[in-house]
Symmetry: C2
Subunit: 373 residues, 2 copies
């Protein structure tokens, strides 16, 4: 039986290993507590330190929803970050989270069962779902008294350096911003416009630090894209994200096959079931908790991509230290991290994982490793 | 880009997500202890309750190696079970384990780093490696104070029923053994001999409990195999393991494609890197800790198979409750379990996970959930 890639994709339904309804153990050394979990949420508006410019819009704020799951006096923190272009809002999150009824679960340890239920409430709403997932992971980690990186067997000293994005601007401003970002060991540049080479040359005029490039589907011709990638390789770029529109599967695969640099899927995927479709089309994937419903599914995506021999990066939105810390727990496993979201805001209500001299530093706190300021 | 299955396999190198050298955190709420881990091991001989008959030999004992990792007064238990036909022995395990030097690790939580080192010491020796993996998981779970099923977010009430093997024998003895096994909700029958249909008919003469069939590569013709499988389906068989020799990839794939029952790979795979090769050839895989180096890799295999939409069963050798309990921790995630190894021995030094009325019962003890008798 020989399967083409398309057959492979067609037949490989992804089964989320979903669990499971439970009864209290009949003899317990480790006692299950009989309390109830209570989910609460409140909208919050992140203030960006700098104007955030996309091809279609600019903004100075990002709407988020901060969540808490309380159980027996312990509180787990979560967050949904919802930049407008992704389709969720404080209104949609509020509607979704109002439907989440955790009162029929009396054991927060049944993470698989609880999150399978949350996912089943409605389609989409991935950021809202992530806000429950993160709060539940924080709660369970606190109940156990350990951070997730330890429960995953990882070494906090092996966290990666995060990239830091240099926004598109005039050459003078780009040079200035690049100089200001000297603590970062890898910089990210958004390309896909008229002035791609100018941007790179401008940055290269002040630093030879490694760069990564996010094209955000901005190139329309595969031969142009490949020529650009060869040029970028000469300029010390380490990988390229989403060179062409996600729908152009064959073109993206053609680029990946011929590219001297790894090509990373971003817009092309969201959840675990998408990872297998990226195989043979991209060199690797960018995992974002807000798109994949949180830590549980993100960790599975990471391990699946590894088993497929693919590269893995982990990214973010503008987020508080809650979501950044959640993503950072698994960051010792990735090739590259783009976790600068909490550096970009001026009103973070939390302390947590943060880049120190460019390297992600995890706090030795249980759960996702955050504390309220 | 269209990849055939063979291209897919060729290009999909499996990367074990290996970790990582570590330094002590600089500000710790959860303190890392500064002790050393100490690995010890001793040979032990399992006494089988009944003679174990394979196509080439019979035996009444199984050699194992019992391991311990001690750290700050806490002891984690492990085990290598080494039925002779798999190539390891107490001698090879002793040689291998003598090379394992844990003295340069001062933090048992760095599971990935430690097990990557153990795996690198030599090729093969999968049971010996598993004995370190299991002891380390037991130790870390005890340090945390939680069983692994909880850290994996699973529900202990969702453990499967284990199958119980009815050995090949005269019809009278088979009928008698089948009646004695009435507490089990699924029975396993070894086929691949002259008397396959007779065995099934004999069991069916006394019970209509679901059966699974392990052919152990015993069928040599694919058309015969498929005819048998159709016949077995009518007899209430739920799946078939390894119908033809593992080298007959195209024949096994042909059978899987046409079979009305799931076809499970057993001899065809050992470790994580083999799972992807099973895709498109078998419906699912049988994970055995002694073949895959232990819990860490077994858990990854389970999640990878799920992501590929494959069935998963978990199996065992004749083993004490140490290895059975280790495998049982992830059993709420599998479709089928064949974890009767500790039921088959008369001198188990441990209490742990065991089938009760056929269903695996996990103890509420931390780590792998065992205690010395």
């Amino acid at each position: 039986m020989k399967l083409s890639r398309k057959d492979f994709l067609k037949t490989s339904g992804v089964i989320a290993a979903g669990m499971s309804v439970g009864i209290t153990p009949n003899f317990s050394i480790i006692k299950s507590k009989a309390g109830k979990m209570k989910l609460t949420f409140e909208p919050y508006t992140l203030q960006l330190k700098h104007v955030f410019t996309l091809s279609t819009s600019s903004r100075t704020t990002t709407p988020v929803m901060l969540t808490q799951i309380e159980y027996e006096g312990i509180v787990g923190y979560g967050e949904a970050s919802m930049p407008p272009y992704l389709g969720e809002s404080q209104e949609t999150a509020s509607t979704f989270l109002s439907k989440v009824d955790l009162s029929h679960f009396n054991d927060p340890f049944k993470i698989d069962e609880i999150l399978t239920y949350v996912d089943s409430i409605d389609i989409g709403n991935t950021a809202a779902k992530a806000s429950v997932d993160i709060a539940l992971h924080d709660l369970v980690g606190k109940l156990i008294g350990q951070p997730w990186f330890k429960m995953w067997g990882l070494d906090k000293e092996k966290t990666p350096y995060t990239s830091y994005t240099i926004g598109i601007d005039t050459p003078e401003v780009v040079r200035e911003k690049t100089k200001e970002a000297s603590e970062f060991k890898i910089l990210k540049v958004k390309l896909g416009r008229e002035n791609d080479k100018e941007m790179i040359e401008t940055i290269r005029s002040v630093t030879d630090v490694p760069l990564c490039v996010d094209v955000n589907q901005g190139w329309t011709d595969k031969n142009f894209a490949l020529d650009m990638i060869h040029w970028l390789k000469e300029k010390g770029i380490v990988f390229v994200e989403q060179p062409m529109p996600k729908e152009k599967v064959d073109e993206n695969a053609w680029i990946t096959e011929k590219s001297p640099l790894p090509i990373i899927a971003d817009e092309a995927l969201q959840r675990l079931s998408d990872v297998i479709k990226m195989y043979g089309v991209y060199s690797g994937i960018n995992i974002k908790l807000m798109k994949c419903t949180g830590m549980r599914e993100g960790y599975k995506m990471l391990n699946l991509a590894r088993a497929l021999g693919m590269k893995v990066m982990i990214g973010c939105m503008t987020e508080t230290s809650v979501a950044i810390s959640a993503a950072s727990q698994m960051s010792p496993l990735v090739d590259w991290a783009d976790l600068d979201g909490n550096i970009l805001i001026s009103n973070d209500p939390f302390n947590g994982a943060v880049a120190v001299n460019g390297k992600i530093r995890l706090l030795d706190l249980p759960g996702i490793g955050v504390e309220k300021k």
